[in-house]
C-alpha cells in the first residue's frame, strides 16, 4: 500500500541539480502529495521564477516515481505558498554548509550584503571578515562573496526568509 511517506522517501533521493548534496525534500519545495486511484499528484513550489533547474527537477521526480511503479503522475508548480529559505530543513542547512556554500541567515539579507554590512562567515576559515563581490552568483539562489582573511571566494545562499 502506497503512502505519502513512501513517496517522501523516494523524493529524498532526488537532489537539487545545482546543489547536488541537497535533497528536494530538505530544500522544502514539496508542498503536496496526494495518492488516489486516479494516480499520484505532487505539488511543488518553484524557488525562483526563472530557475532553469525547476523543469529538470520535475522530470527527475517523474522518473523516480515512474520507476517505482506509479502511473498517471501529475506534477504541478504551485504559486502559493511562496517558497522562502525558511523552508530549508536543518539537515538541508547542514548539507549546504558541508558543500562549501555559506548557508542563508536572516541576519544577512541582501540589503545588508549590498550595503557592505555582511555578517556571513567564510565556509573555509569561519572568519566573519567577508565581502560581497556580486549580488548574483552562478545560480539564481546564490550571491558571490570573498573572504578577506583567507581570500577564498565562495558562494552565499541568499536569504529571503526570516530565519
Amino acid at each position: 500500500m502506497s503512502t505519502t511517506d513512501e513517496i517522501l522517501t523516494l523524493l529524498k533521493s532526488v537532489c537539487d541539480p545545482e546543489i547536488p548534496v541537497l535533497t528536494i525534500v530538505d530544500l522544502g519545495i514539496i508542498e503536496r502529495i496526494t495518492i488516489s486511484e486516479n494516480g499520484l499528484y505532487i505539488g511543488i513550489l518553484p524557488t525562483y521564477n526563472g530557475c532553469p533547474a525547476m523543469d529538470l527537477i520535475r522530470m527527475m521526480i517523474y522518473e523516480i516515481c515512474y520507476d517505482a511503479g506509479y502511473r498517471n503522475i501529475k506534477i504541478e508548480y504551485l504559486n502559493s505558498p511562496h517558497w522562502t529559505t525558511d523552508r530549508i530543513s536543518n539537515e538541508g542547512m547542514e548539507a549546504i554548509k558541508q558543500y562549501g556554500i555559506a548557508a542563508p541567515s536572516a541576519s544577512t539579507r541582501i540589503e545588508q550584503l549590498i550595503s557592505g554590512q555582511s555578517s556571513v562567515s567564510c565556509p573555509k576559515c569561519h572568519s566573519s571578515h567577508t565581502r560581497l563581490i556580486s549580488a548574483f552568483g552562478s545560480t539564481a539562489c546564490k550571491a558571490l562573496m570573498q573572504c578577506e582573511d583567507c581570500q577564498e571566494p565562495f558562494e552565499y545562499f541568499k536569504c529571503n526568509g526570516l530565519r
Binding site: P46, Y48, N49, G50, C51, P52, N79, S80, H82, I110, E111, I114, I133, S134, A135, F136, G137, S138, T139, A140, L144, N160
Partner: protein, 253 residues
C-alpha cells in the same frame, strides 16, 4: 486575434509581453558583459524576468481557447499583436544604456507589483508577489549601477545623461493606462499604471538627481506599444526569437 480576447486575458498578456521582450533584449548581453560578475548578474536578472513572463502567460492561457500554452503566446504572435511597452524593445546600446533602461523598468515595476499584490484577485496577487520580491532585488542592482556610472567620471556622467535622454520619450508609456488596465478596475484590480505616476516620477527624479543627472525636458512622447504599434526594433527581436517555431511549427526539444 488579440483584440477579440477578454480584457482579463489582454491584461495578463501585456504584463507577460513587457517581461518577455525585456528578457529577450537583456539576454543579448549573455557572454558580452563588461566583467564576468556583471555578465552573470544580468543573465540572472534575465532568467527571473523570463520566468515572470511565463507565469503571466500561463495564467493568461487559462482564460482562452485560442492559445494552448505560453510558448504559443510567445512564438506565434506578430508585432501588431505584441502589447509590450516601447521601452523594453529599445536596443541595448552601451552598458550604461542597458542599466538605465533596467533602472526605469525596475523602479516602476517594483511600485506597480506592490500595488497589484494587494489587489483582490488571488491568482494575480500570488504572481505579483513573486515578481515584486525579485524586482526589488533587481532594482537594488540597477540603481546601484546607475549611481556608480553616473558619479564615476565626467564621461560616465555624460553617457548616463545621454542614455536617460534617449530612453525618456519611449518610457512615458510605462505610466499610461491601456484599455485592458481600465477594464480591469471592474474585475477587482485596484491599480492602474497612471495611479502611481506621481510617486514614480518623484522617485526617479530624486534618485537620478542624487546621481548628478537631470530629468530631460523632452515632451514629445512616443507611445503605442500597448496597441501593437511598435518601433522598428521589435520586428528584429521577434524574427530572431520566433525563428525556430516559424520554420518548424510545433517543434519540441
Amino acid at each position: 486575434m488579440l483584440k477579440d480576447q477578454s480584457p482579463y486575458f489582454r491584461f495578463l498578456v501585456q504584463l507577460g509581453d513587457d517581461a518577455l521582450i525585456l528578457s529577450q533584449r537583456t539576454s543579448e548581453w549573455c557572454g558580452h558583459g563588461p566583467v564576468l560578475e556583471q555578465d552573470i548578474a544580468l543573465t540572472n536578472i534575465t532568467l527571473d524576468i523570463l520566468g515572470q513572463a511565463r507565469l503571466w502567460y500561463q495564467l493568461a492561457v487559462d482564460q482562452t481557447q485560442d492559445f494552448k500554452d505560453e510558448d504559443q503566446l510567445a512564438y506565434t504572435r506578430d508585432s501588431r499583436e505584441m502589447t509590450n511597452i516601447l521601452l523594453v524593445e529599445q536596443p541595448n546600446g552601451h552598458w550604461g544604456m542597458t542599466v538605465m533602461r533596467q533602472y526605469l523598468y525596475d523602479t516602476f515595476k517594483k511600485m506597480y507589483y506592490a500595488r497589484l499584490e494587494e489587489s483582490g484577485q488571488a491568482s494575480i496577487s500570488e504572481i505579483a508577489h513573486k515578481c515584486r520580491v525579485e524586482t526589488t532585488y533587481h532594482h537594488q542592482w540597477s540603481s546601484e549601477w546607475v549611481r556608480r556610472l553616473a558619479l564615476g567620471t565626467d564621461e560616465g556622467n555624460d553617457k548616463m545623461q545621454h542614455a536617460l535622454n534617449t530612453l525618456w520619450r519611449y518610457h512615458q508609456e510605462i505610466t499610461q493606462d491601456s484599455e485592458a488596465d481600465i477594464a480591469m478596475l471592474n474585475e477587482g484590480i485596484t491599480v492602474t499604471p497612471s495611479m502611481i505616476r506621481e510617486d514614480y516620477q518623484q522617485e526617479i527624479k530624486t534618485y537620478l538627481e542624487s546621481c548628478g543627472l537631470s530629468i530631460p525636458d523632452i515632451r514629445n512622447e512616443i507611445t503605442g506599444g500597448r496597441k501593437g504599434i511598435h518601433t522598428e526594433h521589435l520586428g528584429y527581436i521577434l524574427a530572431e526569437m520566433q525563428y525556430m517555431q516559424r520554420a518548424y511549427p510545433n517543434l519540441e526539444w
